[in-house]
Amino acid sequence: MYSPDQHLFVVSQEDWSLHRKGYQDQRRHQQKVKEVIKQNLPDLVTEENIIMSDGKQIIKVPIRSLDEYRFIYNYQKQKHVGQGDGDSQVGDVLGKDPTPQPGKGEKAGNQPGHDYIEAEVDIEELEEMLFQDMELPHLKQKDRDEIETQSIRFNDVRKTGMMSNIDKKRTILENLRRNATNGNPGIHGISPDDLRYKTWEDIIVPRSNAVIIAMMDTSGSMGSFEKYCARSFFFWMTRFLRRQYEKVEIVFIAHHTEAKEVNEQEFFTRGESGGTICSSAYAKALEIIDSRYPPSSYNIYPFHFSDGDNLTSDNERCVKLIDELLKRSNIFGYGEVNQYNRSSTLMAAYRYIKKEQFMYYVIKEKGEVYQALRSFFHKREGSAV
């Protein structure tokens, strides 16, 4: 009764598989997100969402400067019209700080978006960016670097081998080649000469161990800011070392006037009143190294965080103990969190230690944790890896 030609219309279904514009621009957006992340690395290094991520792989971080900024109204200060179920009353509470979504299924493109700028970041990607130009200084070959077989991979072709590993494609190619040179092209008469076998190789991974001796001043003068900086630093340092070594252990030593080995939780939350004697931590570190981590099989990284407020008479002992520690360690790092730029007794002494393996960095604000990491682990000219 109805025929399509009475009305002017067409129904078509084309092949849209080549229309990739959405995906291309999406990729460009992701690329921009990455660039912004890279620019914000110093801020992100101390981002709480990451440091407290508890091993989550994907984390949400606030990203500044990647929204589409326009002149828009302040939603919070605006009156809006809404719709109830039929019995709404003046005074009804609709919610606390909802984030109203625009109606569903509507055509977009001409409406400005008002969304939060939170980007999902893969911690590994972040590590990739962060550690891109870092390396471990002063690596030492350890005696007990044992050769270990982890797995095998097929990566070679030979003329002899097991029948079960025969490489059919290459065998036929050989046959073709031989027949062609004999002036009789084609696949026929496969002879033992044509046979090719896949062979494997063991993948050898040297076993390597590292231990971080994390020392922190937990005396009264270390506030939450100082601890947070230290925590961020150790977070990334552990991750960095895990990329270099098969196994990374971390020992936490908290100290005020005396030192004590503690667990991670205690390490970052502990607070004690009283003065500071840093040498106590160093002595404790030596004791732990000598009893549990023989330098012959461990790469040892003692790192100490303090606000620099040490008992002056203790400084000399500290310098001496650092000497001892350096004999056993790859590097010794001292990080001082000193946001008010006070004069620090400890730095007064450490400034004169002229040893390549001894490094220090003074952190004045959160963003400098990143600088500290870079300062300790930057790529060095001509250093052996």
Binding site: D25, Y69, Y73
Partner: protein, 478 residues
């Protein structure tokens, strides 16, 4: 596959027959069935052929994610063009498509007949393709980065156009001033209608010709200029030709989208009104009837916190029809309303109104109560219903649709204190700007203008002038 197509074609022909019977007047239609990612691409870009930009990619990603998680679904997309393009989601059932086709025909009728769309470029699909082509050529010439960062800046202001007028292009400052002066003069002349007492003015000596010379206007622009994009494009001293070209093309695209922003509630209401009536005329199986009811309910479902334009628009149209079909005694006496003219009236409304007048004229007391509308705002940390007076609801809704729901900005001064600096003024009507966004948008304006830019607005009932000089932000109370 072929059978499905044929069945769909039969259904479309039938629906068109019914639509014609109702008096809907649409362009020739081109229905294109496409996969979800393509529909979402078009949704994000607003047009299949639009230029490339990361912000569209971001939108696309967000919309596609919502689809993948089943949070939202676009069933169709319709383009205001002649012939009219409608994109149907591959995998729609036949009954879904029937509803959508009916819905789309009504949209097309609206595009074709609503007064706001009368100046629409109906070849925008091709125009946008040409724009995209040109922009990608500029990318080759000037580098992707340069073009992209320029478009970033233009997009930050591209909503601030003046849809009322067709702007002359390529005017230099002097000719622009002359034109404005002429307009001013004509306006004054026009307002002086001959009156009974005109001769009284002539009792004095006739003024000398020299006095009649128009006082030279020193302000630039002489009157506040609503079309910020056009003004910058014309008078910025730092833009290169290709940049002016991009600005003018993006401005055209904005002007094309503008009527859609101004008629969202009406347009969706109109389409929902008609898909219901058209589908009712079809012979449906009981299964189809249930499926239709479900889909229809999900389209016109009321939402909390924000208004569903489909639902509100639909209800207003139905209310108008009822009130003109069965006018009260009073309406018949006072307004001379003749019963039974409902249909006729809604066709008239779809032709002459936009959301502003639609709500102002036709959202009745009865309807605000039936729809249980209310005004809500933030009180402390809580969002609370603060008003249920129907006039206030109506006025608030009208206010939210002024200027397409965007802050109304004008160029107040293009040569501030004779320094060549630009002053934008927010025509404050009780709603403050988002200051964080404003401070991040000003640098884009600065980039386009090439000199220090200012924005005057109102914060906490005080006039404030925000300034960005290319390096730093300043604010000063006026």
């Amino acid at each position: 596959m072929q059978d499905d197509h044929r069945e769909l074609e039969r259904a479309i022909a039938e629906i068109m027959e019914i639509a014609d019977g109702f008096g809907l007047d649409y362009y020739p239609m081109r229905f294109e069935i496409c996969p979800a990612d393509i529909i979402y691409t078009f949704g994000a870009y607003g047009m299949p052929t639009r230029f490339s930009h990361w912000s569209f990619g971001k939108n696309f990603n967000r919309m596609k994610l919502q689809y993948d998680f089943g949070l939202s679904k676009i069933y169709e997309l319709v383009i205001n063009s002649n012939p009219c393009y409608a994109f149907l989601l591959d995998g729609n059932s036949l009954i879904q498509n029937k509803l959508i086709v009916a819905h789309v025909l009504a949209h097309c009728d609206f595009f074709k007949n609503n007064y706001r769309f009368s100046a629409s470029n109906r070849n925008m699909v091709e125009s946008m393709a040409a724009t995209a082509e040109r922009i990608s050529r500029y990318e080759l010439e000037h580098g992707t980065e340069a073009v992209e960062s320029f478009i970033d800046a233009v997009l930050a202001v591209h909503e601030h156009v003046d849809p009322q007028l067709i702007k002359p292009q390529q005017l230099d400052k002097q000719r622009y001033m002359e034109l404005k002066q002429r307009e001013q003069k004509e306006k004054e002349y026009k307002y002086r209608e001959p009156g009974r007492y005109d001769d009284l003015w002539n009792l004095d000596d006739k003024p000398k010709a020299s006095d009649q010379k128009v006082i030279k206007i020193h302000r630039f622009p002489p009157e506040p200029e609503k079309d910020v994009v056009w003004f910058i494009q014309q008078f910025s001293e730092v833009l290169e030709d290709w940049q002016r070209d991009i600005m003018s093309m993006l401005r055209d695209e904005m002007l094309y989208f503008w009527p859609q922003m101004e008629t969202k509630i009406m347009n969706e209401g109109w389409a929902s009104y008609w898909h219901q009536r058209i589908v009712r005329e079809l012979d449906l199986t009981s299964d189809e009837t249930v499926e239709f009811a479900k889909l229809n309910a999900s389209v016109v479902q009321p939402t909390r916190h924000s208004l569903n334009p489909y639902y509100v628009g639909l209800k207003i149209f139905e209310d108008i029809e009822r009130r003109w079909d069965q006018p009260t005694k009073e309406e018949q006496d006072r307004f001379g309303r003749v019963p039974g003219r409902g249909r006729e009236k809604i066709f008239e409304v779809r032709e002459f109104d936009s959301d502003l007048s639609f709500i102002r004229n036709y959202l009745s007391k009865q309807l605000t109560e039936d729809l249980d509308l209310y005004v809500f705002e933030k009180k402390g940390p809580e969002w609370k219903i603060t008003d249920k007076t129907w006039e206030n609801i109506r006025d608030q809704l009208v206010l939210s649709r002024v200027n397409g729901g965007l802050p109304y900005l004008v160029v107040q001064d293009g040569d501030y204190l004779r320094t060549g600096e630009l002053v934008l003024k927010h025509q404050y009507e009780g709603i403050e700007l988002d200051l964080k966004y404003m401070e991040r948008t000003l640098p884009y304006v600065n980039q386009l203008w090439g000199r220090t830019v200012h924005l005057e607005t109102v914060v906490e009932d005080k006039k404030v002038l925000f300034t960005y000089d290319g390096k730093k932000h300043y604010r000063k109370f006026l």
